[in-house]
């Protein structure tokens, strides 16, 4: 049984912060198929399209029939651990400071034998579920989890290296004026965050939901305006050294495409709140987070971007908004590369139209702010990198995979 984590003590400011390290992350091009699956929390291995052989490690031809048609597909993740070892000496600096480290060979019911990390509740001979995760360096790895959930299993030290669980972590919700920001505060409080900082621009201005927000356990309202570089810097100076998860809830939703608008005022505002806002936040909080990726139980863990799924395909009814979201997505990809060496994940949460006032005229299905908040917390607990929330987001993901051109035509209405 996993020993429950205890809340870390206040850090001694004179002590050296453990520098982030990560396991070797080089992978073959083909093995990046595992990265794609792990990023979205799917369990996939290669399966021969011709003879249906399922195999691992990743190959460029089927080891039974030599067919080159060997895509990654979802497969049964259950198996039995054949042998385990506890590694006590490692040549890699990351593992060296984390030994003893357990690994084992699992025979999957689907066929292949897989070397994986072992969860602490998994023993030799046990039935297990294999999960595909991203490790500290963002590389895909397999971990054998107990067949059924066990108490405190998320607290297992090897597993926690691969997740961004909010438990005992300190979170910054960048904008608490929005329904999404408030739902997010509640969800993180319930997920066991130690502190939930909630940013409010111009705190003297009252806003709907303020009383309820202030009453949420662990919530601490802080001044923060994502459109003001100085405000971001000041907040980072105040709390940046102890913020482990940033969730950017700042939003700016306005209908209209390119031609329906006169001038650039609204587009500039969109870019200012969303794209420049993301840059300001990243520049203010990113460097400290990147240096704190291995800072104990409450190490810096994730930078969460809430992105309209229309960042992936412009929705002309909200065309300029979609473009600003696309800019954010591109910046997030850059930020992901920049934070990865620090062991900090950039989590992109793609959502469909929300159940909020600025999507008032949009027909359902829509995403409730509480559902979005729940999805964000779950994504962090699972350690995934790309999440799609709501039926519209799932629909667009599926259609993009099949025929992006068809989607471009059809989404125009």
């Amino acid at each position: 049984m996993t020993a429950p984590l205890t809340r870390p003590k206040r850090k001694d400011p004179l002590k050296k912060t453990r520098q982030p390290l990560y396991p070797q992350s080089v992978r073959s091009r083909t093995a990046q198929g595992l990265t794609a699956a792990a990023a979205q929390g799917r369990f996939e291995l290669q399966c021969c399209s011709d003879c249906k052989e399922i195999f691992y490690p990743p190959r460029d031809a089927c080891p039974k029939c030599l067919s080159p048609r060997v895509p990654f597909v979802p497969v049964d993740n259950r198996g039995t651990v054949l042998a385990e070892t506890t590694i006590r000496t490692s040549t890699d600096p990351y593992f060296r400071e984390r030994t003893p480290w357990r690994a084992g060979l699992t025979k999957l019911d689907a066929g292949p034998v897989v070397l994986s990390h072992l969860h602490g509740d998994v023993q030799e001979g046990a039935r297990v579920r294999l999960d595909l995760k991203l490790d500290k360096g963002g590389a895909p790895v397999l971990i054998a989890l107990p067949e059924k959930d066990t108490p405190n299993m998320a607290d297992d030290p090897q597993l926690r290296e691969m997740t961004c669980d909010p438990k005992f972590r300190r979170v910054l919700i960048t904008d608490g004026r929005t329904a999404v920001g408030q739902a997010m505060a509640k969800a993180f409080s319930e997920a066991g965050a130690t502190i939930v900082f909630v940013g409010i621009a111009d705190p003297w201005k009252p806003f709907p939901g303020e009383d309820a927000l202030r009453k949420i356990d662990k919530v601490e309202i802080v001044p923060l305006d994502v459109t003001d570089s100085e405000s971001c810097t000041e907040q980072a100076e105040q709390n940046g050294g102890r913020i482990d998860i940033v969730v950017n809830t700042a939003e700016h939703v306005r209908p209209g495409g390119v031609l329906q608008r006169h001038g650039l005022t609204v587009a500039r505002e969109e870019m200012d709140v969303r794209y420049f806002g993301l840059m300001r936040l990243a520049q203010a909080f990113g460097p400290a987070m990147r240096s704190r990726g291995a800072d104990g139980v409450n190490s810096a863990a994730a930078f969460v971007n809430l992105l309209s799924v229309h960042a992936l395909m412009n929705w002309p009814a909200y065309g300029a908004y979609s473009a600003a979201e696309a800019a954010c997505l591109s910046a997030a990809q850059c930020l992901r590369a920049e934070l990865r060496p620090g062991g900090v994940k950039v989590v992109n949460v793609f959502f469909g139209p929300l159940e909020t006032e600025w999507f008032q005229t949009v027909p359902s299905p829509k995403v409730a702010p509480s559902a979005l908040a729940k999805a964000v917390v779950q994504a962090l607990q699972r350690g995934v990198e790309d999440v799609f929330v709501g039926d519209i987001a799932e629909d667009i993901r599926a259609r993009l995979a099949v025929n992006p051109k068809a989607l471009e035509r059809e989404i125009a209405g």
Partner: protein, 388 residues
């Protein structure tokens, strides 16, 4: 299948060992060059006489055997590069023997050498193979120790082998190594020392693991009459086998490719396992030694532990084995580890051992094993050698 041609008229001679060092500031080229130099001096030939060359090395990159010809000023008409780790020796021998037999070359220099800089072992591990890179090294980076820990654990579960069984092999090899000047491990090892050593990757402990070092080994393959005219003591090659990726459907390795080819090995040699005076196995880990006892026919599958319990393995024991101390005591000089058993067997058969002699040694078996690509060693080979 047609019967295989015997290696009539072909011999191996001039065993060379360039004394090992734990770490070396020299390159693999330096070590291989020294071995070739010793080889020509020992054979009494000129470098230009070497018209065949076969090389094995993990650390000679970016060069291959091709680059080495220019590096060493050789102009061979027959060249091979055998990147097969611990199987390189046996496989180099059988390649060279056929080349000489067919007249493609007169003198084939077989050489394996590696350096060991302070960081080269880790670098070799990280880029050992694509499967290692994608599916092994990221899982704790325990190297071969972790991979063989799993194989060892499984073997112990299956056949009841104990740490004492493996320890007995290690202790005997250490005993043999005490007479070998180039051995890395020069301190007597007791079973208690073995059992109380620190854990490396359960169930493997310190003395189950080889020590990486720098070194080189070489020998010459030529016609028997050529060796005779040069006055070189030589060994005849009675038979050889080679196999790669045997038993791919075994979930965990509990046998090696020898098990597929063992009948052919003894039939071609015209002798039985019981006729052998000494055995040199590839001893990266004692579990692999135990598998070789079984898979080469010295006992049945699963009887390895009993075989160990019923024999002594020192040079003067009931079953002389790894008489130079093997890699477990001499050190693992990279690919040269795959040659160590051959050069030792050659010296024992020629009556010129570096350490203690095996009494009246006429027949030796040598086996090789190498390349843990993902979860198991892929290459295996063996040869039966006889005093010429």
């Amino acid at each position: 299948m047609a019967a295989r041609l015997a290696y009539d008229g072909v011999v191996a001679c001039v065993p060379v060992t360039v004394p090992y060092r734990r770490y070396s500031v020299n390159s693999a080229h330096w070590w291989i060059g020294r071995a070739l130099h010793e080889l020509t001096l020992g054979a009494g030939i000129e470098p230009r006489d070497i018209d065949g060359l076969i090389v094995s090395s993990f650390t000679v990159g970016p060069d291959t055997a091709v680059g080495l010809t220019q590096h060493f000023g050789l102009t061979p008409r027959w060249l091979d590069h055998v990147p097969m780790g611990g199987a390189s020796g046996v496989i180099g021998l059988r390649r060279a023997a056929r080349a000489v037999q067919a007249g493609d070359a007169q003198f084939v220099a077989c050489v394996a050498g590696d350096t060991n800089h302070v960081d080269s072992f880790r670098k070799t591990l990280t880029s050992f193979s694509r499967f290692a890179q994608d599916a092994v090294y990221p899982y704790g980076s325990g190297g071969a120790n972790a991979s063989f820990a799993l194989i060892t654990k499984n073997y112990m579960n299956l056949y009841g082998a104990t740490r004492e069984d493996f320890g007995k092999l290690c202790v005997a090899q250490r005993d043999n190594a005490l007479a070998i000047p180039f051995a890395m491990m020069k301190k007597k090892l007791t079973l208690d020392d073995y059992k109380s050593a620190r854990a490396i990757s359960d169930p493997l402990h310190l003395f189950d693991c080889v020590m990486p070092c720098a070194g080189a080994e070489a020998f010459l393959v030529c016609r028997e009459d050529t060796a005779k005219s040069l006055g070189l003591p030589a060994v005849r090659i009675l038979s050889t086998i080679e196999r790669h990726n045997a038993f791919p459907d075994d979930p965990i390795q509990y046998r090696g490719g020898w098990a597929l080819d063992v009948d052919e090995l003894w039939q071609m040699a015209g002798v039985k396992p019981a006729d052998v005076d000494l055995l040199q196995t590839y001893d990266d880990y004692p579990v692999i030694v135990t598998m070789q006892f079984e898979d080469l026919g010295f006992c049945k599958k699963g009887e390895g532990p009993d075989f160990i319990r019923s024999h002594t393995f020192t040079t003067d024991g009931t079953f002389p084995h790894n008489t130079s101390g093997g890699q477990l005591s001499a050190g693992q000089a990279g690919a040269a580890g795959g040659y160590l058993g051959i050069t030792e067997a050659m010296r024992q058969l020629a009556g010129t051992p570096i350490g203690k002699p095996v009494k009246d040694a006429r027949l030796a078996a040598v086996s090789g094993f190498g390349m843990i690509n993902y979860d198991r060693g892929l290459s295996s080979g063996a040869a039966v050698l006889a005093r010429a």
